[in-house]
């Protein structure tokens, strides 16, 4: 394998598959590198992504869900696409078993700005399936050697139903810790749900995090973002202190193929993480 050619994927093996949701269309895939040299080279930070590459099908850009503090593997939480557009890669991946080998290109893109986040309070707001790189960030910050670098950590995470919450075991573990405040909500609970009900924007409003020395990291479906942003403006968060991760169709992932171009930025290489202040500089073309 050519190591200096960014278009050639590295071989990886699926060592674990976790069925995340009760609709069974979102799974977390844990990969290990088949070449040790590739593993060494794959140095990433929370917020970055990689191209999952299956010969004969294609490539899909997916956010990295594991934290770089976890050694020996890398995880991606992947939804089976195909309700509207056929998702060749994600469908093929979902049909694979542990032990299957595929390709991986990355890490790609910028990351959550770790240095900027240091010494600040962090409010993480996630909705539905868009929680993957937020989970990477949370686990990174909670890592024993890292925790003291950050101030208070608050997580507000919502899904439509209890069965659609990702990383249920981790959420439960975070709720037990006293160095992170975890607020989980669902749009509509079921008979077993004892937690909170309500939409993410309303829950944010109730929680009312102070904007003082605080950064809000927000990822979710467009409708959640649309109603959550005004809440944070009202609370007094500046546009520089609200961060999000943008999606755009991608191919190369290294700022060459032109596909994810929005204004003077390539989402893949200049992003995917942008502050709201940066996004407002771009034309509304995404």
């Amino acid at each position: 394998m050519s190591s200096d050619n960014p278009y050639i994927p590295m071989p990886v093996e699926i060592i674990k598959i976790i069925d995340e949701v009760d609709t069974h269309d979102i799974k977390t895939f844990r990969f290990t590198f088949l070449n040790k040299a590739d593993e060494k080279k794959f140095k990433y930070l929370p917020g970055q992504f990689a191209e999952l590459s299956i010969y004969g099908k294609g490539e899909s850009p997916i956010g990295i869900a594991s934290s770089p503090t976890e050694q020996g593997y890398v995880e991606f939480t992947v939804q089976r696409a195909g309700a509207i557009v056929p998702g060749l890669v994600t469908a093929a991946l979902h049909d694979m078993d542990e032990g299957a080998k595929i390709g991986l290109r990355g890490p790609l893109g910028n990351s959550w700005p770790i240095e900027f986040l240091e010494k600040k309070n962090i409010v993480v707001v996630g909705g539905g399936f868009a929680f993957t790189t937020l989970r990477s960030l949370i686990n990174y910050m909670l890592y024993k050697d890292n925790r003291s670098r950050f101030g208070d950590i608050t997580v507000i995470y919502g899904a439509r139903t209890p069965g659609l919450l990702l990383y249920k075991d981790e959420l439960a573990a975070w709720e037990k810790r006293d160095d992170i405040k975890t607020i989980i909500t669902v749009d509509k609970g079921d008979e077993n749900w004892k937690g909170r009900e309500g939409f993410v924007p309303a829950v944010c409003k109730d929680a009312a995090p102070s904007p003082k020395n605080t950064v809000a990291v927000i990822c979710g479906p467009p409708v959640m973002i649309k109603f959550t942003l005004p809440v944070f403006f009202e609370l007094g968060f500046s546009k520089e202190n609200i961060l999000t991760s943008l999606e755009m169709r991608m191919k190369c992932g290294i700022g060459k193929c032109g596909r994810c171009n929005v204004g003077y930025k390539y989402v893949c290489s200049d992003g995917p993480v942008f502050s709201l202040a940066e996004l407002e500089e771009l034309p509304r073309d995404f």
């Binding site: 394998m1 050519s2 200096d4 050619n5 960014p6 278009y7 050639i8 994927p9 071989p11 088949l34 590459s53 010969y55 004969g56 099908k57 294609g58 490539e59 899909s60 696409a81 195909g82 309700a83 509207i84 557009v85 998702g87 994600t90 080998k101 595929i102 390709g103 999606e247 755009m248 169709r249 191919k251 190369c252 290294i254 700022g255 060459k256 193929c257 032109g258 596909r259 171009n261 204004g263 003077y264 930025k265 290489s269 034309p283 509304r284 073309d285 995404f286």
Partner: protein, 344 residues
């Protein structure tokens, strides 16, 4: 500086073919195009400009990355070796030579390096070729407006121009100098030839194409302001068929797709040219598509070249070669769009 008789161009071509791959203009049914030369007699310098741009010498229409067999392990896939045979790109007009510099910034000068572009660029010697200053520029051309002279030698390794029945060849770079020194059959140019060459280069700088002056910074800002004026974009894109020919003939369009093609158990991962003019270019797996309308896509193309690229890389991503205007089936003219934008 060296020279040869225009009639003896095939001698020169034959020598270059001994040294590597020769890519030169060839007369075809529809017009001229750059092709890999198999017979030295094919090289024909009696052209205005080629239909397709010479970018394919470095960025071919299709580029195979990896070959594999379907059903076999990813470990059995074989990356396609990047060919680095020396090549000679012969007879490139100054505006097209300029396009290589603009593409260099994108492919190898900023961020990740595209190994295919970079290796081919390094292995290729460029023979630039002055426009004929005695013939008026084609009505579609506007390279002079963008500050490119009709006989600018910059960017070429060897720069060529006709002087009557003779072809003058001047080494511009060390690479070009070394090559010319190795060629036989060329004679030394006279001081008079040198004077003619210098004068032509100077005259080429005031050679007229369409008359409007475009300043990169101000046009970039203008398009940023115009982005939200939907009626403007709807009007200029009214006839657009979204066929994408403007991007395929363009020397500075670089968008590509990466796709897998399989047939009878054999598979290839390759890149192919793609275009922002196509509706599924930005179609996401979720079904979301930010550019479903023709005006949004034409706006993307124009703003990318004249605004986004300027802000990102400092240069307009257009060399005024006129190919998109000549090729457009409904006579959309990018320069006219720029002109109308400036008047908005």
């Amino acid at each position: 500086m060296k020279k040869t008789a225009v009639q003896k161009i095939s001698d020169l071509a034959a020598q270059l073919m001994q040294k590597g791959t020769l890519i030169a203009p060839v007369r075809e049914d529809a017009g001229f195009n750059f092709r890999e030369i198999s017979d030295a007699g094919q090289v024909d310098l009696n052209f205005y400009n080629t239909l397709m741009s010479p970018k394919s010498a470095f960025f071919p229409h299709m580029e195979d990355f990896v070959r594999y067999q379907t059903g076999k392990s990813v470990l059995d896939a074989v990356p396609v070796e990047i060919s680095i045979k020396p090549a000679f790109l012969f007879g490139v007009r100054p505006c097209d030579v300029k396009s290589f510099e603009i593409m260099d910034i994108h492919f190898s000068g900023t961020g990740a390096v595209d190994p295919y572009w970079q290796k081919r660029r390094e292995a290729t010697t460029i023979f630039g070729y002055a426009f004929d200053l005695n013939t008026p520029a084609d009505g579609a051309d506007f390279y002079a407006t963008l500050g490119i002279g009709a006989a600018d030698p910059e960017g070429s390794d060897v720069f060529m121009m006709k002087k009557g029945d003779e072809l003058l060849l001047k080494a511009v770079t060390k690479k070009g100098e070394k090559l010319l020194a190795e060629m036989s059959g060329l004679t030394d140019a006279s001081p008079e030839d040198q004077k003619y060459f210098d004068e032509t280069v100077a005259t080429g700088r005031s050679f007229k194409t369409r008359l409007t002056c475009v300043e990169a910074k101000s046009i970039a800002k203008k398009f940023e302001d115009l982005f939200h004026k939907t009626p403007f974009w709807e009007r200029i894109s009214d006839a657009c068929l979204s066929c994408g020919i403007c991007t395929f003939v363009c020397p500075t369009c670089y968008c590509f797709d990466i796709c897998d093609e399989t047939l009878f158990g054999q598979g290839t991962r390759r890149r192919v040219w793609d275009a922002c003019m196509f509706t599924d270019f930005t179609l996401e797996a979720s079904g979301h598509n930010p550019r479903t309308k023709v005006y949004q896509r034409l706006r993307q193309k124009v703003c990318h070249k004249y605004s986004y690229h300027v802000r990102k890389y400092g240069v307009i991503s257009c060399v005024g070669c006129g190919r998109c205007t000549r090729a457009c089936p409904v006579n959309i003219d990018i320069f006219s769009i720029v002109d109308q934008a400036m008047k908005e």
